[in-house]
């Protein structure tokens, strides 16, 4: 359903992406793992054109676009079907939870206000915030804010949602509520690409795990394949660093 290939991106001298290829099918939950600085965020941002890649192709459904020279109109079209959940939520500070969710519907999609509010309330209820429609972001905990961020993405009924480390800005006790919501929407069949350091989420929810390092995809496979029998030494080293001890022993 979504395929990006040959993605190259550098910032000045720093070659961050060096020919990345990933493919996602409908209903897939793809988790991208990798050490800090390996280009995971940059890859997601290139897919949504928040960053302009130097080279590469994006195929979505049956259209194919160059990542570096797509027109504004084409980019707008892609964004209609690809939603983004940010590491630091990026909720609109001056809008209530409900307004955050309906903004993209009313302004971006021209959905009637009544209808948008109905969709918005459903989305907020889905993430467990039916009592927070009128709260402003700074009246919400980090976990609640991120759940609004997820509702904002879900409400647009995108074909795919990109998550960039959705829980890494949260206090540890708030991580589970967000992962729980993500698990729910994954089980509903939402296609998603998730960059995360939460190995339990990768193990339990992902049907495909991609390990990136140094701007390339080093290895990919099912969670089982990557965690239990990684083929590449770089993957093994990384997993040894990040996996909890008991998990290592159980391998």
């Amino acid at each position: 359903m979504l395929e990006v290939s040959d993605v190259h991106k550098s910032f000045g001298e720093n070659d961050v992406l060096k020919g990345v290829h990933i493919q996602v099918d409908k209903g897939d939950v793809v988790v991208i793992l990798g050490p800090s600085g390996s280009g995971k965020t940059t890859l997601l941002r290139c897919i949504n054109f928040l960053e302009k890649a130097d080279r590469g192709k994006l195929a979505l459904h049956d259209t194919s676009l160059p990542l570096n020279t797509a027109s504004k109109k084409e980019i707008h079209k892609v964004r209609q079907s690809v939603a983004f959940v940010f590491q630091n939520y990026n909720l609109f500070h001056h809008k209530t939870a409900l307004e955050n969710v309906t903004e993209g519907l009313i302004i971006g999609r021209k959905v009637a206000k009544k209808e948008a509010e109905k969709i918005g309330r459903e989305a907020l209820t889905k993430v467990g915030l039916s009592d927070k429609y009128d709260a402003f972001p700074n009246q919400l905990s980090g976990g609640q804010q991120q759940r609004v961020g997820i509702a904002r993405a879900v409400a647009l009924s995108p074909d795919i949602i990109l998550f960039d480390e959705p829980t890494s800005a949260l206090d540890p006790e708030l991580v589970d509520e967000v992962l729980g919501v993500m698990k729910n929407i994954a089980e509903e069949g939402t296609t998603m690409i998730v960059v995360t350091h939460e190995m339990s989420f990768a193990k339990d929810v992902a049907n495909k795990v991609i390990f990136m390092d140094g701007g390339v995809v080093v290895e990919e496979g099912t969670a089982e394949e990557i965690f239990k029998k990684p083929k590449k030494e770089r993957t093994r080293q990384f997993l040894r660093r990040v996996l909890p001890e008991e998990y290592i022993y159980s391998i």
């Binding site: 001056h94 903004e103 009246q139």
Partner: protein, 237 residues
């Protein structure tokens, strides 16, 4: 002074000063209407480092900042008629430049001056807005114009409001320099009335009170508006 204050003239001067308020406000409002959008666009050009426009903006700002308003007034008041004269003669336009109403000069001078101030106000407000707000807006399918109109500008106004208030109050006060080109505003009207009997103290006192009232009212208005805009920043008790 020996006879003490002439209370009845003070009272009279107060109303004369008040009669200058509409002109003062008109100049202030016209200057703001011109300076707000122009200042914002030039602030964007500096923020996004748009070549040429950004250099022009920067020279313009240093010119306005580095010179007293009264000097700007003298320059504009003396150079514009010269330029217009050449223009009018060339195209045979039958307008006598010496009959141009001084309020037009006021509009030009104070828009020119306020725009420069607002460029800096908006630029620093722009810098305070997290880039993530813009990216989030784009990611939900807003165009750049929609993102600015719906997301960036409302937040930016809250940040800029205290400085906009200061700029407006400074502008109101600066219009008193309009006497230099015979603008019939608060100061000039009252001073002219004082000339008759040398009641300068009373006149100045009346002018003082009227500006104080006017500026306080404007500041109060800004406060109310700012609080309304910034509702979202209030934490729940």
């Amino acid at each position: 002074m020996a006879e003490g204050l002439n209370i009845s003239f003070l009272w009279e001067a107060f109303f004369i000063a008040l009669s200058g308020v509409p002109i003062t406000l008109l100049v202030t409002i016209v200057a703001l209407v011109i300076a707000l959008p122009t200042g914002f666009i030039l602030a964007l050009s500096r923020f996004y480092r748009i070549p040429l426009l950004r250099q022009i903006a920067s020279v313009y700002i240093s010119f306005v900042r580095g010179t007293p308003i009264i000097v700007q007034i003298f320059i504009i008041y003396s150079s514009i008629p010269l330029m217009l004269d050449i223009l009018f003669k060339k195209y045979n336009i039958g307008i006598n430049i010496y009959e141009i109403h001084p309020i037009w000069y006021a509009f030009i001078v104070f828009s020119f001056n306020t725009t420069a101030i607002l460029i800096e106000v908006f630029r620093s407000a722009l810098q305070s807005i997290d880039q993530g707000q813009y990216e989030a807006a784009q990611s939900i399918g807003l165009t750049s114009v929609q993102a600015y109109r719906r997301i960036i500008i409302p937040q930016l106004l809250v940040v800029a409001m205290p400085n906009l208030c200061t700029a407006t109050v400074n502008l109101i006060k600066a219009t008193s320099l309009g006497y230099a080109f015979s603008l019939q505003e608060i100061t000039l009207r009252t001073k002219v009335a004082a000339n008759m009997n040398y009641n300068y103290i009373e006149a100045y006192l009346a002018i003082f009170i009227v500006y104080l009232l006017l500026c306080s009212a404007v500041e109060y208005g800004f406060k109310v508006y700012e609080n309304r805009l910034a509702r979202y920043q209030l934490r729940m008790a």
